[in-house]
Symmetry: C2
Subunit: 212 residues, 2 copies
DNA sequence: CGGCATCCGTGACGATACTG
DNA sequence: CAGTATCGTCACGGATGCCG
C-alpha cells in the first residue's frame, strides 16, 4: 500500500488527484463501474497492470472509501470488489476524461487491447445526452454489455455481458459506429437511419429509435 | 522527456490518461488555465514539483499539443507557456475532479499550501451553474483573481491578480465561504444575504447579487 | 536572475515466480 | 483463484551547477 504521497495543496482538484491520481486507479474505477468484479477478472480486463500494483491499488481504494471487498454468498463463494457511493461519484470524472480523449481514438494501434465494455461509458453519455432512458443491451463484435440509462445513483451504471432481464432495446453495431456516436459526430437516430445500427426490442426506446 | 508510457488500450479514457495521467500534469493545466505563465511562476505555484519534472512535463505537453512555448515581446522578454485549444478543453476534466474532491477540503492540514486562484475553477463552476456571466474580480485573504464567467472557448477562463479592465462585479469573501459556494452547499445569493460576501461594482451581475 | 540540465538517493512500477 | 515475494528498471523529489 502507498504511504500516501500527497500533493499537499489546499485545492479540491489536487485532493482528488491525491486519491485517484495514481497510475491505474481511474481505470480500475472504470472497471468497477460495471458492478462487482473479482480480482482475476479485473486483472484480465486491465492488460498491463502487474498483480502487485493491482492488489496495492485495491487496498488503497478500500482504505480511502472508494471500494469495498465482499465475499459472495455460496455457491461460487469468491471475493469481489465493489465501488462505494463515493466511488460511483467518479462517473462524471471518467466521462469527462473519456470525452476529452475520444478524438485520439481515431486509429487503433496494433498494440491496443480492446474490451467491448470500454465503450459503455461514452455510449452512456451519448444516450443520456439524447434524453433516452431504460435498459439497453449492446452487442459489438468484441462482446456484449448493457447500460442502465438515466438510473443515476443507486447501483452499477453498466455491466458486462447480456442484460440480466429483458432490455428496453437491443443494439447491434460496429466499433466505428460506436465511437462516432460516442464522440457526438453521429447521433444515434442518424446512425439508425444510416443502417449502421440494428435495433430490436419492444420497449419505448426501441420503438422511438426505429421510427426515427 | 518521457518515452511515452502508454496503457495501450483502445479506450478514450485510457487515451486521455496516456496524455494527462502523469503526476503533476493536470495541476500544470490548472495553472495554465489562468493564462500564459513563466516557468518560474509555475514552479512557485506548484509547491513540491521538482525542476526537472516540471521542465519534462512542459516538454511533453508541447509535444502532445497541449501547450506552446512563446517568447513575450520586449520589454520583459521572457518565455511563457500557454495552453492550446486542446489543452483548454481539459477544463471540464478539472472541474469534474474538483467537484469530486471538494468534500475532502474540509480540514486544511498544516502542510497544505494555498493559492487564491486555486478556488477559481470551483467558483467558476458555481457561478456558471447559476446562469451568471461577465468579468468577476474576487478577493480572498490569500490573494486576488478574476473570472471570465460564460466566455467559453477563446482565451483563459480565469487569471491571477486583479481584473485587467473594470469588472462587472467585485467580490470579497473568506475561504470558508468560497469553498461552501464552490461545493454548492451555499448559493452565492444566499452567501450575499448572509453577509458573507461583499459585493461591489456597477455591472448587471453586481446589481443582481445585491438585490438578491 | 530566470530557465533549465545534471546528479543522486528513494520509491514506484512492471514482469515473473511462487504460495495458501 | 487470489494474491505475496522478489528483483531489475524507471520515475520522482531534492540539491546543485551551468549558461544566457
Amino acid at each position: 500500500m502507498s504511504p500516501r504521497r500527497s500533493y499537499d495543496q489546499y485545492c479540491s482538484a489536487a485532493r482528488a488527484l491525491d486519491l485517484v491520481g495514481d497510475r491505474w486507479t481511474l481505470l480500475i474505477v472504470r472497471e468497477l463501474l460495471a458492478g462487482p468484479r473479482r480480482y482475476t477478472d479485473l486483472h484480465a480486463d486491465l492488460p498491463g497492470v502487474s498483480t502487485d500494483v493491482l492488489a496495492s491499488r485495491l487496498k488503497d481504494m478500500e482504505r480511502d472509501g472508494l471500494a469495498t471487498r465482499r465475499r459472495l454468498p455460496p455457491p461460487g463463494a469468491a471475493y469481489v470488489y465493489e465501488l462505494t457511493g463515493r466511488g460511483r461519484e467518479l462517473l462524471p470524472v471518467l466521462q469527462a476524461l473519456g470525452a476529452w480523449g475520444a478524438p485520439d481514438l481515431g486509429e487503433r494501434r496494433p498494440t491496443d487491447a480492446v474490451r467491448a465494455h470500454w465503450f459503455a461509458l461514452p455510449l452512456l453519455r451519448a444516450l443520456e445526452g439524447e434524453g433516452s432512458a431504460g435498459l439497453v443491451e449492446v452487442r459489438l463484435d468484441e462482446g456484449e454489455f448493457h447500460l442502465r440509462v438515466g438510473e443515476a445513483g443507486e447501483g452499477a451504471v453498466y455491466g458486462e455481458g447480456p442484460a440480466p432481464v429483458e432490455p428496453d432495446a437491443r443494439l447491434v453495431l460496429g466499433v466505428e459506429t460506436c465511437t462516432a456516436v460516442a464522440q457526438g459526430e453521429l447521433s444515434l437516430p442518424d446512425a439508425v437511419r444510416a443502417g449502421r445500427v440494428e435495433v430490436s426490442g419492444e420497449g419505448t426506446l426501441a420503438k422511438a429509435l426505429r421510427e426515427a
